[in-house]
């Protein structure tokens, strides 16, 4: 396959960026999208040009490090697929493909396609954890968890924090990410003691980071590589309203 990639190039956080077209030839349909970028970078390096910076780590679709906006869609055209697991057979020979970084005020561009997703870490720092020492894995059934709660918590726990929800959201909101963490911990017994302070503090950290508000359009769920459902945002709203009705329990 021969493709034209139009890639966002930006030298640094404050530099002005632009889309630059690159022709890549002899692309195998079995290559992943990142392997095409690797191939392009090898050529650019040989030519003495600056390779394209992009984030990646496990390349197995489970770490959340990779992620670019491909033809206007975060992680590209395949449902529930990270950029590293997107294969070139989903494109056609001769295609022109636009590649851009996640766009959000809270995700400043570091270089080219790499953005700083530290804002998501600050949301986690605000309450996305259980501080009680829980020891090693408990015996099965030592702590009963209703099936519905276990399913909802497990589904939410699959979030890999890639930030595609933010990239896709018309409001630049990270509510799906925040809601996944709130649901994951809030529906398990270990998460109960901090359930109220967690949701208040995580939403406050979310807003402080400069993310937008949620309008329930569902753009996030269309691109989420883990299929986190929009219902998690309803769970976050429910927990937030319950926590707000009681005297201040926020830790901050």
């Amino acid at each position: 396959m021969n493709l034209t990639l139009r890639i966002w190039r930006q030298n640094g956080p404050d530099a002005k960026g632009r889309l630059v077209a690159y022709r890549v030839t002899d692309v195998s349909p079995d290559m992943s999208f990142l392997e095409v970028l690797d191939m392009l970078n090898e050529r650019l390096t040989m030519e003495g040009a600056e390779p394209v910076a992009f984030d990646h780590d496990c390349r197995e679709g489970i770490c959340g490090a990779c992620g670019v906006v491909i033809n206007g869609v975060a992680h590209g055209p395949e449902k529930a697929t990270t950029t590293c697991q997107l294969h070139m057979r989903h494109f056609r020979d001769g295609d022109t493909i636009d590649v851009e970084p996640w766009r959000a005020r809270a995700f400043p561009v570091v270089k080219d396609l790499v953005v700083d997703r530290g804002a998501l870490d600050r949301v986690i720092e605000a309450g996305g954890y259980v501080s009680a020492p829980t020891g090693s894995a408990p015996d099965a059934h030592a702590l009963p968890v209703p099936k519905a709660d276990a399913d909802a918590a497990f589904e939410a726990a699959t979030c890999i924090g890639c930030g595609a929800c933010v990239a896709a959201c018309p409001n630049g909101s990270a509510m799906l990410f925040t809601a996944a963490k709130v649901t994951h911990l809030g529906r398990l017994p270990q998460g109960q003691p901090e359930r109220q302070s967690r949701v208040l503090d995580m939403v406050a950290a979310h807003d402080d980071a400069g993310f937008g508000g949620c309008t329930n359009t569902g753009e996030c769920t269309a691109v989420c590589p883990k299929g986190i459902p929009l219902e998690t945002i309803g769970q976050l709203n429910r927990d937030y309203l319950q926590a707000s009705r009681r005297p201040a329990r926020s830790r901050s």
Binding site: F211, G218, I233
Partner: protein, 236 residues
């Protein structure tokens, strides 16, 4: 504890309304109040099909609710105050959230396509502006009578018939567009309000979306039946 200054509870309430989730809640609650008004208003409108006497009697009764405990139009002014407060809260929260959303993505995408969001969801903000402008016109037309060809406040039936006369087709057109905008606004807005207030299951989401769709279609049909009935001469 000092007795002066805000209590712990007050701090939570203030910070809650400053948060995005708090502003969404304000939108949901004020929006539901406005929808309840729309339902009552539509039922009143449909009295136009019973006859001029019934319609005018209903309009006069609105001013007599609560008598003699309340003064003439007393209840109406209470309702107007509540609705105005709901509208101001709704528009304020929408504006705050829209400005925040705009600030959240200072650099846009060169290549952007809508992925999943419905037409109704994508047009909430501008649709809301159209509805607001229409509501102002509508009050000047059929409440105060300033923009009505007859403007006789004692006989609202005559005002409605004159308003939607066939030669004033542009009024009917604007009215139709505004009502359809309300329909689209509620199709996403009702679902979104329920979700904001804590609806959290997939089955509940299906139900909420269905109710939102039926309510939108029902309100559109009810509101549009009046001008079209006047236009074709069914009501006159």
């Amino acid at each position: 504890m000092e007795s002066s200054g805000p209590s712990v509870g007050d701090v939570v309430t203030v910070s809650a309304v400053r948060s995005t989730v708090g502003q969404k809640t304000l939108m949901a609650v004020s929006g539901i109040l406005l929808v309840l008004f729309l339902v009552a208003h539509m039922i009143g409108n449909l009295k136009v099909f019973v006859g001029a006497g019934s319609f005018d009697h209903y309009a006069h009764w609105l001013r007599a609710i609560g008598a003699p405990l309340l003064p003439h139009s007393g209840y109406l002014w209470i309702q107007r105050a509540v609705l105005t407060a709901a509208l101001v809260a709704h528009v304020w929260a929408a504006t705050a959230l829209a400005l925040r959303a705009r600030a959240a993505r200072p650099v846009g995408y060169a290549h952007r396509r809508p992925v999943q969001g419905s037409y109704a969801a994508r047009t909430m903000r501008w649709g809301g502006v159209i509805i607001l402008l229409f509501a102002i016109y509508h009050v000047l037309d059929l409440t105060t009578g300033h923009l009505n060809p007859v403007g006789d406040r004692a006989h609202p039936y005559g005002n409605v018939v004159a308003d939607f006369a066939p030669e004033r087709w542009y009024v009917t057109l604007f009215y139709t567009l505004a009502v359809l905008a309300v329909g689209f606004h509620l199709r996403h807005g009702l679902f979104s309000a329920v979700r904001t207030l804590g609806q959290r299951t997939a089955a509940g989401e299906q139900r909420a979306r269905l109710v939102a769709l039926l309510a939108s279609v029902g309100l559109c049909a009810g509101y549009l039946s009046v001008p079209f009935a006047v236009m074709v001469g069914l009501v006159g």
